[in-house]
Symmetry: C2
Subunit: 201 residues, 2 copies
């Protein structure tokens, strides 16, 4: 059985959990206390030298980090990874967009608001994160105004990757009411078989 080493309240970890549930793949979950420094122990760094969750232990002692790579690994050969080359490239296009232009604003704003004390100096980053995160949401809104899904015409790991932090963007101070197409897409994702909510903090 595969194991996931993750922090339940992390959107990057939730992506992996959601896909495993939707695939019906049995798994063990090992909670990692990232805030308590558990990703910096020698044991954890042996699994992922980059010191981040999630990590998929696909065989005992054999580990794959990076949520996007884990999603691909689990989805290959299933309907969550499209059949056509261009649709696959579009799936990756949105997954790279998420990790480069979306997560560093929207997930980081959520982290600051949910996990740091109100007087923490990183709160000064929020205005900049709200501008850039809003631009990422604009890009999504434009796509979703014309498409039900991000790639391949159906629900894929690109939707899972983008859903995780988008649907929780209000935690970081974003107003999703400005993005009606995103709101309808969030409802479509929630209606998928075996969908389960992201654990709260």
């Amino acid at each position: 059985m595969v194991s996931v080493h993750g922090m339940s309240a992390s959107g990057n970890c939730y992506k992996v959990r959601l896909l495993l549930e939707q695939l019906g793949v049995p798994y063990q979950w090992h909670e990692v206390d990232t805030l308590g420094g558990e990703t910096r122990t020698p044991e954890f760094l042996a699994m992922n030298p980059n010191g981040q969750v999630p990590v998929l232990e696909y065989e005992p002692g054999r580990c794959l980090p990076e949520s996007g790579a884990i999603l691909y690994y689990l989805a290959e050969g299933t309907p969550f990874w499209p059949v056509e080359r261009l649709a696959r490239a579009e799936t990756l296009r949105w997954m790279f967009f998420e990790q480069y232009s979306h997560e560093p604003c929207i997930a980081v704003a959520r982290f600051i608001c949910l996990f740091l004390p109100p007087d923490h100096p990183r709160r000064a980053d929020l205005p900049r994160l709200h501008v850039r995160g809003g631009e990422a949401l604009d890009v999504m809104e434009q796509h979703l105004a014309a498409h039900d899904w991000f790639a391949g015409g159906h629900y894929t790991i690109a939707d899972i990757a983008l859903f995780a932090y988008t649907h929780a963007a209000a935690d970081g101070g974003f107003d999703l009411g400005r993005f009606p197409a995103i709101g309808r897409w969030i409802a479509r994702v929630r209606a998928q078989p075996r969908w389960l909510p992201m654990p709260s903090k």
Copy 2:
């Protein structure tokens, strides 16, 4: 013939150029003046609503953005994209690592040093970027001390993705002399058939 819309001095664009050259795929290059605002025109935003280079125009008027997705699209079915599922996942693992943990430090430090005036306030970011970029180089060094390549036991798009900004890291103030395994890997990449250098500024 495919077209690339890119900025020659950008490492993300060089990745695409290098792969096209190594595949022997004919292409047209359309230089985009990103510093002059050309990625913000309506024409460019119609190709990539996220306003970034590179963009692959794989058919006239049909465009794919995100360097990682373009590399995948061009490499599928060639030796640059491994055959095995796990090796493919490892390829993506390093490509996501590059875009999330490496490029935002090492490429950004290079941008600040090469393209912004010496008195620009973003120079204040350099110490932080050097710490975090150094951690990314440490992760690469550890892997390369035990492996010739990043995934699949041979040269793949993971190597191309990581080579672009790593080999130019000194432009951003990193001392590659501290990373001997990276230095040997850079030499191996440079020795690959049809390798070509990254255009300078």
